[in-house]
């Protein structure tokens, strides 16, 4: 058994005989009492999301997961394909399990994949990823005056985001993966 201090994004917890991967966690101090950890976890079998709150210090059944640096290759139907850069072994993971962050994947980027009994259960992306801007409408004179300080641009993996009007086609930019927003020029 492990302690609640080891709860992190991507760890796998056995709860009432089912396995769940932690997608979000937060320490909370209700009122003025002891601290608790609230987790949002996704069932590895059913994909359903549950919220479970543990008292800090309570023992939690965390199962051992191996973390590997892998490269994202391509999308295969509903699955995403990753390659272990040491032995060139490939693994596939369903988009539902990756969740919303799947849209930030871009060919060739390095991610950390969590493997439970050799089956991928979680993917952690870098905090910021560099993309090339493939489409950006030119800024129109008077944009700033009318309050239009951002515009929609398209990135080299097809993702569309809002960016400042000074961003041009062909430039490389950094996107903050936590918020999905423009962060800076690369």
């Amino acid at each position: 058994m492990s302690s609640t201090n080891e709860i992190r994004k991507g760890v796998v917890i056995r709860h009432q005989n089912d396995l769940f991967v932690v997608v979000e966690f937060q320490h909370i101090n209700p009122g003025k009492g002891a601290a608790f950890v609230r987790t949002r976890m996704k069932s590895l079998a059913a994909g359903k999301v549950v919220e479970i709150t543990y008292k800090v210090g309570e023992s939690v059944d965390i199962v051992e997961v191996e973390f590997q640096t892998m490269q994202y290759l391509y999308k295969n139907g509903a699955n995403y394909v990753f390659m272990n850069m040491n032995d060139y072994e490939q693994v596939e993971m369903n988009g539902d399990l990756i969740g919303d962050e799947a849209k930030y994947l871009k060919e060739g980027i390095e991610v950390i994949v969590g493997l439970f009994e050799e089956v991928p259960v979680s993917v952690q992306l870098p905090k910021k990823i560099t993309y090339k801007v493939v489409e950006a409408p030119p800024a129109v004179k008077g944009d700033s005056a009318s309050g239009n300080v951002t515009k929609e641009i398209t990135l080299d993996n097809g993702l569309k985001i809002q960016a400042p009007i000074f961003i041009k086609e062909g430039e490389e930019i950094l996107v903050n993966i936590e918020t999905g927003e423009y962060s800076a020029r690369a």
Partner: protein, 375 residues
């Protein structure tokens, strides 16, 4: 093989991801209109809170942030600092976790309606999410005053902020929370009946609630206090459902969780305390204040002992605070009249009104922003 051992190196993992990219919030404010909008909302909310309380004849007080004797809450961690006089003698001080003691001393000095917006500090709290170790709090007190009046003040304050910001419904998570109509007010006992069909009266003793916690499938540890067991049920089965359509005040907490509040006149098994919830998020904690000096001194000394047992920093109970209660709060009244007060998290208010995704987005240079800059 570049296998990362997760259990040893979660810190290394985050470092792996950082790639020397610096967060600098001023740049975010400059380039990201959404974040600029959130910060603008913050400034407007702070101004409007002041306007509201001044218009209600409250006085804005100002008390030290560095305190010699902070509160004794067993699970809070005040940040210790040392101050030296010119000859080099060192004095231990603590950054306050709340201005509560100092403001109650002002009530003893004769102030009747006071408010204060200030930064508070709690060590070992989450960097982001719903917490930052340095956060902004508003506290206000009425002496004489009733808990019910504090609830009315709170509701009126949010409605005033809603008018100033043009917001009737707050979008939080997937909820649209209507702040413009009448808010919900329910006792803890009613809430347990509604959501889990349990009569809380039957579970006010530790041995009894222990059985209920096990029955409902939660772990019971040997050292669990009553409130730990209570929260295992409350946090899992009740809190996430509170205030989804309109804000709700939950009042009358079991006496075991009285903290600095007085026990209810009509039922001593419960204490005069309420918390305010929006979409499962706790915003404020209020007390019908415990003004009995002897009882307060006893409770603080018990909390101090518990702190020592838990291995927390130990410091003396603030005797000046006990003396202030002895002289009477409200001033000169010997427990004959009540006093009430509340602490409300300003960053969380900004989070709700601005639609920020994380508390860090409501704070200029949060602990996370500043520490990530170092990496």
């Amino acid at each position: 093989m570049t296998t990362v051992n997760f259990f040893k190196s979660s810190r290394d993992l985050s470092g792996w991801f950082c790639c020397n990219l610096h967060m600098s919030t001023w740049l975010d404010l400059k380039d990201n209109p959404r974040l600029k909008g959130i910060y603008d909302t913050r400034l407007k909310i702070i101004k409007s809170i002041r306007e509201f309380f001044w218009s209600q004849d409250f006085l804005e007080t100002d008390t030290p942030i560095a305190a010699r004797y902070p509160g004794q809450e067993p699970y809070l961690n005040p940040m210790r600092t040392q101050i030296h006089n010119p000859s080099g003698a060192a004095f231990d001080f603590f950054l306050h976790t709340s201005p509560e003691f100092a403001m109650k001393k002002l009530l003893a000095a004769g102030y009747k309606k006071i408010f204060q917006i200030c930064h508070c500090f709690r060590d070992e709290e989450e960097f982001g999410g719903r917490h930052n170790p340095e956060f902004t709090m508003i506290e206000w007190y009425r002496a004489p005053g009733e808990l019910l009046e504090i609830a009315d003040d709170t509701e009126n304050l949010f409605k005033y902020l809603g008018e100033k910001l043009g917001v009737k419904k707050i979008n939080y998570k997937d909820f649209k929370i209507d702040i413009s109509g009448e808010w919900d007010r329910k006792s803890m006992k009613e809430i347990w009946k509604i959501f889990i069909n349990v009569n809380l009266d039957d579970y006010l003793e530790i041995e009894k609630i222990k059985i209920l916690v096990k029955e409902r499938g939660f772990a019971v540890c040997e050292n669990d206090a009553y409130e730990d067991l209570f929260y295992k049920i409350f946090l899992n089965e009740i809190e996430p459902k509170l205030g989804l359509e309109k804000p709700i005040f939950i009042y009358d907490y079991p006496a075991q969780m009285c903290s600095l509040s007085r026990l209810c006149d009509n039922d001593k098994r419960y204490a005069e305390r309420f918390e305010l919830y929006f979409g499962g998020l706790e915003l404020a904690n209020a007390f019908g204040e415990l003004t009995d000096a002897e009882c307060q001194s006893r409770r603080l000394n018990e909390d101090k002992k518990l702190r020592e047992k838990l291995g927390k920093q130990s410091y003396p109970v603030d005797k000046d605070f006990i003396n202030a209660l002895k002289s009477g709060v409200p001033a000169g009244e010997n427990y004959s009249k009540k006093a009430a007060g509340i602490a409300l998290g300003v960053d969380r208010v900004v989070l709700l009104f601005s639609g920020a995704k994380d508390i860090n987005e409501t704070i200029f240079q949060s602990a996370k922003d500043q520490t990530e800059f170092d990496e």
